[in-house]
Amino acid sequence: MRNSVANLIKEKAKTDKNLFLITGDAGLGVWDTFKLEHSRQYINPGVNESLCVGMAAGMALMGHKVIYYNIAPFVIMRPYEQIRNDICYQELPVILVGTGSGVTYAPAGMTHYAVEDIGIARTMPNLNIFSPADPIEARASFEYAYSSKNPSYIRLPKSGEPTIHISQEIDITKLQIIKPGKDVLLLTHSSMIEEVQKAQTALKSENINATVATMPMLNSKDSSLLNAVRQHTHIFVCEEHFASGGLGSILIDRLNTEGVLKQVHKIAIKNKYIHAIGDRSYIRQYYGIDSKSINKSVLKALKRG
């Protein structure tokens, strides 16, 4: 996913000389060709996140399209107030690209995880929030952000995730039905799609035909999400994010606002600092968000477990 976005940025930079990339001394190997081919448009100010965001705001005030790239915690947490005041409050269409969503970088430790970034991003009213599940969604997210008048935050896991969409042309503002089913809706985003797909397969053997869907633009106001919720009896939001503040919370708020009475089961990481050590699969298992845990949670909710 990271490479598909990086390649798209490179493509844009060829024709759009107004586009600038600020990297907070991050992205080893990702920007080598960009740096060579578009040296004027490449800025690495160093390890100074507040400056990166303030500088991006200043350049955007002068009419430039600016992308700030770093690992997710250094994109949205360290310079949170700069994003709030300098980018969002000033309504500047800067694109923030954060890699290492969730616990992608495990066992790097809590400082390098982004399991509360959606909760933080949600506090900024005009910020588009994207958490794509495959390279096609990632590209579509960037395309939307690129032409949006609002600022955007795109959180990506890393590179090498498989493509799940068949069509290249998707409407990123809508719910993406990956596998249609009935009764049970497994809603997810980012690389958790792999766990959800596995769970869906396992549930089939229990005669449960679950729908798998992704919501790449987390705060999209499109009605497709609520329509899908209405069409299913059991809703599960599976995410590599704290249970409070993520897509589950976004959905519950929306249902509440729209007066839709439906229970939403959150399969997410408990709001506690992560001290467990292990790779992403291990951490998912440890916190009960891997495919087996999803399977169990669904069966339990359906009282078959």
Partner: protein, 260 residues
């Protein structure tokens, strides 16, 4: 210039009294810096010109000084000025760029103006635009880490179009900058980061103009020695006038002093 400076001070006191807003001392401290820039230095016109120089008020709690200067320059209507800090009014205590076209940035949290100013200055260079950026910050504001992030980068980017004014009145919200931190040596701090540094009397318009016009192949930092509450005897160098509210008696006494 003297009359302009006095009139701006009077206007600051008027709107501070009408609005019962704090930070009058901070606003009075930087009147010569703002008036010299707007009346003698900045390329900025009416109607607003896209190729203008940018003035970034990083110490945005002194917004009254900016509003009063814009008013005397003819960029801001009286109605706009007097809607300052009022319910349903026109201008907030800390700047919001959507409230007026001559307010360049939304600010109020310290340490934001210089990184933004650096971005603007860099964009101007990239665009081959010969304009300049002037950032005004407080001396207490130098305690913000983001200032030094930008200070370290600006010379590297060769931002000769960027000038920083430090309003060194040595009184911040709850103390003196020189007592709270190792403030001195201050010129040397900026110098060692690669800036062309000068220390001047921040209430001397000629000195401000000369320091600003000095040719240099580096970004410039101008330490302006100032007095908080300048121009009003009972407000000068008094910590309480960071937050104190101007009463009718204060206003009358202050206006009398400024009318001499």
């Amino acid at each position: 210039m003297d009359t302009i400076v006095k009139n701006i001070r009077k206007e600051i006191l008027n709107i501070a009294y009408l609005s019962k807003s704090p930070h009058v001392g901070s606003a009075l401290s930087c009147v010569e810096i703002l008036s010299t820039l707007y009346f003698k230095v900045l390329n900025i016109k009416k109607p607003i010109n896209i190729d203008r120089d940018r003035f970034i008020l990083s110490k945005a709690h002194a917004a009254m000084a900016l509003y009063a200067t814009l008013y005397h320059k003819g960029f801001l209507e009286k109605k706009g000025l007097y809607g300052y800090y009022q319910n349903g009014g026109t201008l907030p205590a800390h700047t919001d760029r959507f409230t007026h076209e001559y307010v360049e940035i939304s600010a109020g949290s310290l340490g934001h103006g210089l990184p933004i100013g650096l971005g603007i200055a860099h964009a101007m260079k990239l665009q081959g635009n010969g304009s300049n950026v002037f950032v005004l910050m407080g001396d207490g504001e130098m305690q913000e880490g983001s200032i030094w992030e930008a200070a370290m980068l600006a010379p590297k980017l060769n931002l000769t179009n960027l000038t920083v004014f430090v309003d060194h009145n040595n009184l911040q919200g709850y103390g003196r900058a020189t007592e709270l931190v190792e403030f001195y040596p201050v010129e040397e701090k900026w110098q060692s980061f690669g800036w062309d540094t000068q220390t001047i009397n921040g209430h001397d318009s000629n000195a401000i103009e000369n320091a600003t016009n000095k040719k240099s192949d580096k970004p410039k930092a101008i330490i302006c020695k100032t007095t908080k509450g300048k121009g009003v005897s009972f407000m000068e160098n008094e910590l309480k006038w960071h937050y104190y509210i101007v009463t009718k008696e204060h206003l009358e006494k202050a206006i009398n002093e400024l009318s001499v």
